[in-house]
Point group: C2
Chain length 208, copies 2
C-alpha cells in the first residue's frame, strides 16, 4: 500500500497547492478569473491532472470557496471564540475581522465580499453556497451578540446589531482596497465602538 | 448637412442603446462580462460599428461606468437634492438610495458596488475612475451631513456619519441580492434612523 499511500499523499499536496493559489487568484480576479488552464500553467501541473482533482470549473469554484471558508475561520472565527462569551467576544470578532481585511489574508481583501458580489445576481450551486456562508456568518455575529445580551452586558436586537457591525466591516474593506489606504479601518473601528457603547449595559467593563 | 446630421443622430441613438444594455449586463456579470462581441450580437449591430464607437474594451467599460453614474445621479442624487439642505436631505438620500437598490434600477442591484468590487484590486483607468466615483459619493453624503450640522440639526463628525450611513446602504444591497429578499432594507432603514437619532440636536423635527 506504500505506493498507493504515497500517491494519495502527493494528490492531497497537489490539491492543497492548487486551492492555496486558487483562493489568492479569486480574491483579486474573482471566481470567474480562475481557470483550470491558468492554474495548470502557473503551478506546472497538467490540465488533465487538475480535471482529475476537480472535474469541472464549478467544482473548482466550490472547492475554492470551501478552502477560503477554512482560512476565514482560522483568521477570524477561531481566535474570536478563544475569548469568553460576552461583549469581549463581540469586540474581538470586530477586531479580528478588520485585521483579517487589513493584513490581506487574501491579497484582494475579503474573499467573501469579492466573490459574493461576483455571484450575487446569478443562479447555481456557487451562489447558493455563498448565500449559505453569508447566513452562517451573520448568525455567528448574532449569536455572539445574543450571548452578551444574556450575560447582561449589551441590550438591543441581536439581528440589528449584527447587521450594523457587519456593515462597518464590509464598508471598510471595500474603501481600503479601492483607495489602497487604511482610513476605512479607523472609521469602522470607531463605528463599532460607538455602536457597542450605545448598546452597553451600564456597569459593564469596556473591552476597548 | 441633413444627411450628416441624420447619421450623427443615428450614431447617438446606437451609442445610447449600447450603453443602456451595457450597464444592465455589467450590473449582473460585471464589466468583464461585457464584450463588444456579446453586445453586437444582442443588439444586432456589427462588431466593427461598435469598435468605431468605443475603440477598445477599456473605452467601453469607462463609457459604461459614465452612463451608470448618470443613471445613479438621476435615481438618488437629484431627487435627494430637491429636498432642502439639512436633516431632511440626509434622510432623503438614504431613502432614495435604498429605493434605488430595492427597485433594481440596475437588474443586479447597485452597479457601483458590483463593479467596484470587481476592479478594487486591479490597476488602470477603470479602477481609478471607480475610486474617484466612490470619493465623489462619500463627499456628497458628507456635504449633506455637514449642511445639517451647520443648520444646527445634527451634531458629530460628518465623515464618520457618512461612513456609517453608506455602510448600511451597501450591506443591505449585498444581502438582498444574495438572498433575493428584502429584509436587509428594513434593517438598513432602522440603522440609518437610529444613527441619525443619536446625532440629532434636540428640538429638530424628525423627518421620518
Amino acid at each position: 500500500m506504500e505506493k498507493v499511500d504515497g500517491r494519495l499523499a502527493r494528490g492531497d499536496q497537489t490539491r492543497r497547492a492548487v486551492l492555496r493559489r486558487a483562493v489568492e487568484i479569486a480574491s483579486v480576479d474573482g471566481l470567474e478569473g480562475l481557470s483550470i488552464g491558468r492554474l495548470a500553467t502557473e503551478l506546472g501541473i497538467s490540465k488533465s491532472g487538475l480535471f482529475a482533482h476537480f472535474g469541472s470549473k464549478e467544482e473548482l469554484q466550490l472547492a475554492t470557496v470551501r478552502a477560503a471558508r477554512r482560512i476565514y475561520a482560522d483568521s477570524v472565527v477561531i481566535p474570536a471564540y478563544e475569548v469568553e462569551p460576552g461583549l469581549g467576544r463581540v469586540w474581538a470578532l470586530s477586531r479580528y475581522w478588520l485585521d483579517y481585511s487589513r493584513s490581506r489574508v487574501f491579497p484582494g481583501g475579503c474573499f467573501f465580499q469579492k466573490v459574493s458580489h461576483e455571484f450575487s445576481a446569478r443562479n447555481g450551486a456557487v451562489q447558493e453556497y455563498l448565500a449559505a456562508v453569508h447566513t452562517e456568518w451573520m448568525d455567528l455575529i448574532e449569536t455572539a451578540v445574543a450571548e452578551a445580551i444574556e450575560r447582561g452586558e449589551l441590550a438591543g436586537d441581536p439581528k440589528q446589531l449584527a447587521f450594523d457591525l457587519n456593515a462597518y466591516y464590509e464598508a471598510a474593506n471595500l474603501a481600503s482596497i479601492l483607495h489602497n489606504d487604511e482610513a476605512g479601518y479607523e472609521r469602522a473601528r470607531q463605528a463599532v465602538r460607538s455602536r457597542l457603547e450605545a448598546a452597553i449595559v451600564p456597569g459593564t467593563p469596556a473591552p476597548w
